[in-house]
């Protein structure tokens, strides 16, 4: 029944140690993320194509509607030469995308993938996940600075502004939710929602909306993809990257999106509810997360890019004050989650 128990028994390693390795590497960690990334990038291209009345990826695996296109792209990128331009700060250039992706992956130890499927459980895991995810902008700025390229510079500057702008709202909405549940532990948060049969989305829609919008901003999704800004600054901080380093820098955004949507699932969509068994619960969490990511990539074909000052003024003058409203809602609604 429990593969982790079986593994720990046959290897003679303590249960918690197996779990701490399995969660970040298999599910909800890297292996699951690979599947999600392959699917979601394909879905993003296909959805954008269909909304624009095009066909989208098709010729790689025609039967599956071109679903293997991303895999083919990945193979091509893997065999591409990694070009290190003359003017770059070599070590920071090479190491920062690797480090950034590693840092995001650390979040997989904290976020559960289902009931009992997590690396570590702590009473501060919500906050720790937030801290880990918001560490990456520093490394992205290092990438932009090390690249020695105007576009990268501008992209890095935007990343600095965007991350400060978005993270304030992100943190505020998370704290409002934590206040509502009286806990910062994902497991307790989900259990509180299952106990009262009210998902956080219904109890505090303001916080949920703010979290979603801020998550779009910190993961460079449209309408806030200022950092990438293809038509303006090529690829922002990632302009000079090729081959696997480019793949890593692209995966970074999707990994962040995946982590944040997992967090959204737990905090606002009641995680593995209505199931309690590890398998069904994991499937529920995975399905909800995937659905949220599909919504996030669907928005790409709805909106255009906002200007930097529009984004800043919208977040600071409207969404952040709205976060205070979310706190008020939490304070009013919080008794329904009382144990």
């Amino acid at each position: 029944m429990d593969p982790i128990a079986w593994l720990s028994g046959s290897l003679g390693v303590p249960y918690w140690a197996v779990r701490a390795v399995a969660a970040p590497l298999v599910y909800p960690g890297l292996a699951a993320f690979m599947v999600v990334a392959l699917f979601i990038i394909w879905a993003e291209r296909k959805i954008a194509a269909r909304v624009q009345m095009r066909v989208g990826p098709l010729y790689v695996s025609r039967r599956l509607g071109g679903a293997l296109q991303v895999l083919a792209d990945g193979v091509r990128i893997a065999f591409q030469e990694i070009i290190i331009p003359v003017g770059v700060e070599k070590w920071s250039f090479v190491l920062s995308p690797i480090l950034a992706f590693t840092v995001v992956s650390l979040a997989f130890t904290m976020v559960p993938g289902g009931p009992g499927i997590y690396g570590f459980r702590s009473s501060l895991s919500l906050l720790a996940t937030y801290a880990i995810v918001t560490l990456t902008p520093i490394l992205v700025i290092v990438m932009g600075w090390a690249s020695n390229n105007k576009f990268s510079y501008i992209g890095a500057g935007r990343e600095a502004l965007v991350s400060i702008t978005g993270e304030a709202t992100l943190l505020a909405s998370l704290l409002a939710a934590a206040m509502m549940y009286g806990s910062m532990d994902f497991v307790e948060i989900v259990e509180a929602q299952m106990r009262s049969h009210v998902p956080g989305l219904v109890a505090n829609p303001v916080a949920a909306l703010l979290f979603f919008i801020a998550a779009l901003l910190v993961t460079d999704r449209l309408p806030f993809d200022l950092v990438l800004g293809e038509q303006e600054i090529v690829q922002g901080p990632y302009t000079e990257y090729t081959g696997l380093l480019f793949a890593l820098s692209m995966a970074l955004g999707y990994a962040k999106l995946y982590v944040l949507m997992l967090v959204f699932t737990h905090v606002f969509l009641a995680g593995w509810a209505p199931f309690t068994s590890p398998l069904l619960g994991s499937i529920a969490v995975f399905a909800k997360t995937l659905l949220l990511m599909l919504v996030a990539v669907f928005l790409r074909s709805v909106y255009g890019r906002m200007r930097l000052d529009q984004v800043a003024s919208m977040f600071w003058s409207k969404l952040f004050p709205l976060a205070l409203v979310a706190f008020v809602v939490s304070a009013l609604i919080h008794p329904i989650y009382a144990p």
């Binding site: 909304v51 009345m53 066909v55 010729y59 669907f298 709805v302 200007r307 000052d309 003024s313 409207k318």
Partner: protein, 184 residues
């Protein structure tokens, strides 16, 4: 970041939420509609009747009257002296040709004719400027290519209700019944 101009426009505009919902609904509706693009690698684009492509030359029909070289507005046709031939014969520069078709009209013996191709690849610029013999040989090749059974053809039509639609046609432009474009 003075951005109040951009920000103010958003503030308190009536129906902002509705506008967002409408935008999302529009995109969602489009998502379910079939694509409108033409599946080019699988299907060819049927030529309309009277399509004017590169000019083809039949050496044996030519009487060397030079009318084509005189009428050509783009000076794409020049008369050449061919060794072993008493008369001047036309040579053709595809790079100059504007596909007006005047030469094919004026030719008294129908030595010149229009093809339905004009998108061809040439190795370099000099190879676009052909002397009479080259032109005749090249014309035969183009003709052969034209006759070869190629991809199935589609013709685009604007339907007042459905927008752009594509229908299967045969090489002569006649409609091909039932068989429809592959579902994508």
């Amino acid at each position: 970041m003075a951005g109040s101009a951009g920000g103010d426009r958003h503030r308190s505009r009536p129906g902002l939420v509705r506008a967002h919902l409408e935008a999302i609904a529009t995109a969602a509706r489009r998502l379910l509609e079939p694509p409108m693009t033409m599946p080019i690698p699988d299907y060819g684009d049927a030529r309309v009747p009277g399509y004017r492509g590169v000019v083809l030359f039949d050496y044996d029909k030519c009487i060397g009257c030079s009318l084509c070289a005189q009428i050509c507005p783009a000076r794409a046709i020049k008369m050449y002296r061919v060794p072993g031939d008493k008369r001047l014969r036309p040579g053709y520069n595809v790079g100059r040709c504007i596909f007006c078709g005047l030469c094919t009209d004026i030719c008294p013996t129908d030595a010149l004719s229009e093809s339905i191709v004009h998108d061809r690849v040439y190795d370099d610029v000099p190879s676009m400027d052909m002397d009479p013999v080259d032109w005749a040989v090249w014309s035969r090749r183009v003709l052969e290519e034209e006759r070869k059974p190629g991809r199935p053809l589609l013709r685009a039509r604007v339907d007042p209700e459905r927008g752009l639609v594509y229908e299967r046609v045969d090489a002569e432009g006649g409609p091909v019944a039932e068989e429809k474009g592959e579902e994508r």
